[in-house]
Every structure is written in structure tokens, then in C-alpha cells.
């Protein structure tokens, strides 16, 4: 369970988020909606403590401090609107996380990768392609695949289906919302998310106007 209590974010003297009270329960599937500039991305970054804010962030009832922040972040998988510069092939791209020290104990689950490739409508030949030569949509799905292989309990997603066609949006949404144990918070403008999420939170000018605590 993740809780934001009376969270306020001010940047350059502009209030970005104001009095945010929000609880994400285990297994929640939450869609975060709002116009651009309403503070959605800032809210997701606050949930990871990558924004400085006034207020409190709690994980399973415990306040996040320097001591437990790294561990807390390890539990959450964040995917933003990014296109990393990566010149090696897709196979190398997928193996990046396994080179990190904290993931030394993890083993690359080849079978799960094959399943995810299929669910995300990829052909296995894609593994030999250069990552930089993939299309925008393919890159987006590849980031999702890479993160899903790590099997995190919490996923925080910022417009992860923005470059996808309808078929792929459906695949991605069902992958994230299909597992009842995973906690999902997704920013998106796609109806598909709204149809599959259990809760919708709407932000307007930095305030929650619908679906907060």
C-alpha cells in the first residue's frame, strides 16, 4: 500500500501539486487522467520520491526515509516517455538490468521473455535487430517487456501506450491489468485503460478532482 498525505509540490514559485491525498492499495489498477500540465507526471515522480515535496509518502504504513527509499524504489517499476540512446541489439538491451549489482541474484527468464515477446506481438527475430532501428512503438513495447521481465509488484506508467496501435494497446493494457496482485498506476489518454482500470483519478491544475481519498 502506498500513501501520499497532503503532498504539495512547488517549482519555480509555481504550485504544481496541491494537497494530494492518495492511497494505492495492493492490486489496485488506477488510471490517472488530466489535461497536460495538470501535474500527472509530477505525481508519479513524487510517488518515487524523485520530486521534492511537502507532505508524507508512506509504503505499507511506514514513512519513506533515506533508510528505506532505495528498497522502496526497487519494488516499483517506472516507465516514462523515453527513447534511450542504445546502439547495441535488442538482446543486449533486454539484458541491461542483469548487469546491475543489485540484480546479481536475478536470472534471465528466457521462457518468460518468449511468452512476453508473443504477448507483445513481437517476432523472435526482433532480438537480433539494433535497438536504435526499432520504430517508436516497438521501442515502447520493448521497454515494457524489459520492465515486466523484472516482475515488480508495483508499476508506475507514464503514457506507455502513446505510440501504439489499437491491437498493441490492448495487449499492453491486458498484460498490466491482468495480474490481480500487481499494483498499477497509469497515466494515459487511451479509453482501453479506462475500460480495464478499477479506479480513475482525475487531476486538474494540481488538485485531485475525482477519485482521491
Amino acid at each position: 500500500m502506498i500513501q501520499l498525505e497532503h503532498v504539495k509540490v512547488v517549482k519555480q514559485d509555481t504550485v504544481i501539486l496541491q494537497d494530494i491525498n492518495l492511497t494505492l492499495y495492493k492490486g489496485d489498477k488506477v488510471l490517472l487522467k488530466g489535461d497536460s500540465g495538470s501535474g500527472k507526471s509530477t505525481l508519479i515522480k513524487s510517488l518515487l520520491f524523485f520530486e521534492q515535496f511537502q507532505g508524507r509518502l508512506l509504503f505499507n504504513g511506514q514513512e519513506i526515509t533515506v533508510k528505506n527509499l532505495c528498497e522502496y524504489r526497487r519494488q516499483s517499476g517506472y516507465i516514462g516517455q523515453i527513447t534511450p540512446n542504445f546502439n547495441e541489439n535488442v538482446w543486449d538491451f533486454l539484458s541491461i538490468p542483469y548487469k546491475f549489482k543489485s540484480n546479481k541474484a536475478l536470472t534471465f527468464d528466457f521462457q518468460q521473455m518468449q511468452e512476453l515477446l508473443e504477448k507483445l506481438n513481437f517476432d523472435e527475430a526482433v532480438l537480433d535487430k539494433r535497438f536504435s532501428e526499432l520504430s517508436g512503438g516497438e521501442k515502447q513495447r520493448m521497454l515494457i517487456l524489459q520492465m515486466l521481465l523484472l516482475d515488480k509488484p508495483i508499476y508506475l506508467l507514464d503514457e506507455v501506450t502513446s505510440a501504439l496501435d489499437k491491437k498493441n494497446i490492448q495487449s499492453v493494457v491486458s498484460l498490466f491489468t491482468g495480474d490481480k496482485n500487481k499494483t498499477i498506476l497509469s497515466i494515459s489518454h487511451n479509453q482501453e485503460w479506462e475500460d480495464h482500470c478499477s479506479r480513475v483519478i482525475e487531476l486538474e491544475k494540481g488538485k485531485i478532482v475525482m477519485g482521491g481519498d
Binding site: D13, F49, Q54, D158
Partner: protein, 268 residues
Amino acid sequence: MKISYLSLFFYLLLLLIPIAILVYLKLKIVRSVIVSFTRMIVQLAFVGLYLEYIFKLDNPLINALWILIMIIVANQSILRQTGLRFKIFFFYTFPSHIITMVFSFVTFLIVLDMGTFFSARYLIPIGGMVMGNMLRGNIVSLDRFYHSLTQREEEYIYYISLGASKMEALQPFISEAVKSALSPYIATAATMGLVSLPGMMTGQILGGASPVVAIQYQVMILVAIFVASSISSFLGILFSIIPSIDDCGSIRRDIFLGETTKGTKVRR
């Protein structure tokens, strides 16, 4: 041949040509051109006077002090040009320059003997050249590092989220920054002698040294510049990370001048 002040003054009048071009192009940098060139003349005149004295005194302590002042000014200039906040970075980037310069000076002794190198006539101009380039390299690398990190913060957070430690997640940004700082030197080294004759070599030849001696010094100084720029652009970033990014990878919000954030840091 000596240049007379009068002829140098007439030569300066040539600046009216670029100023006319700038006015015609409506580029509003005429003022800064005039200010910069005036500053250059005043500063060089002062340096000329100081150097006359320093060369005459040739006191190791004064030489060391002079170099120290140069490093402080360089550090300040690097932070000002990159828009990074003095209060946060000054004492962290400073040691990186000190380490670089001490390393440079010690390694010059491979080529030059101690008595010669530590005399003001050698130490100060050579130190100045190395430091000038170190400054340029640092401006490029720090600027590139902090700007790409803040612009592509999502990518950085993504790596942290994949399980990367702070340094693992920063590594692509550090590599890019160091590469952009060093690329110009690599390009310059490759065309040296073909496209351009470097300033030091030209100066020595004009001063009457044989081209062979001038080339020897030039090779030494180019290697020194490249080594110093590599060490300092890398160390500069590494040391600057200490106050700006905490152990869990959070980036301070007020690293750039003019940015303020009201909020609490993670509680201890």
C-alpha cells in the same frame, strides 16, 4: 621584430569590420564584443605587468600562489558558465582541478627538469595553457552532464527503476558528457599541422626558437592538455555528483542558478 603600440592600436581598428557586420545582421552582441575585447586588453595588460614582476621575483611560493589563484578563478568561471550554483558545487569541483593540475605538473618532470619547469617563465605559461583547456573541457562536460540529466530525467529514473545504483544509472550520462568534452581535442590533434599551426608553436617560432624545439614543446603540451582535460572532466563530474545527487539517486532541484524549490528532502 617589436610591435609598436601605435601600430597595434591601428590593428585593433580592424574590429570595426566585424562590428559593422554584426550591426548589419542586427545581432545584438556588439556590446558584448566591445566589452570582451576591452576586458581582454585590460586583463592581458595587467597579466603582462604581473608576469614581469613574477618572472623577476621567481619565488616558488609566489608561483604556487599564482597558480592557486588561477585555479580558483577557473573553478568560478566554470560554474558561472554552466549556470551551476556556486554554493553547492564550489568546494567539490575545486579539488578535481587541484588533483588535475598537481598531476600535470608532476608529470611534466618526465620531459622537463625540475629547475626549468618550476621557474616562473615555464610554470606559469604552461600551467595557464593546460588550465585554459581544462576549463573549456570542464564547461562542456559539466554543462552537458547536468543538462542532459535534467532534460532526460525520465530515462535516468527508468534505469534506477530497473535496479541500477546511482552510479550505474548515471554512467551513460557521464560517458556522453566526457565524450563531448574530449571530441574537439581528438579532432584538433588529428588535423594539427595540416589545417592549423597551434598558438604555442607559432609563438615559439616567432620568438626565434627552431621549429624542431617548437614541435617538441607542442607535442608535450597537446598531450598534457588532453590528459588534463580527460582527468578533470571526468573527476569534475564525479566530485560534483557528491552534493547534487544523494545515495538513492535523487537529484537536487536547486543545482542551477535561479531555480528554487520549496519542499523537504527525504527525511533522515
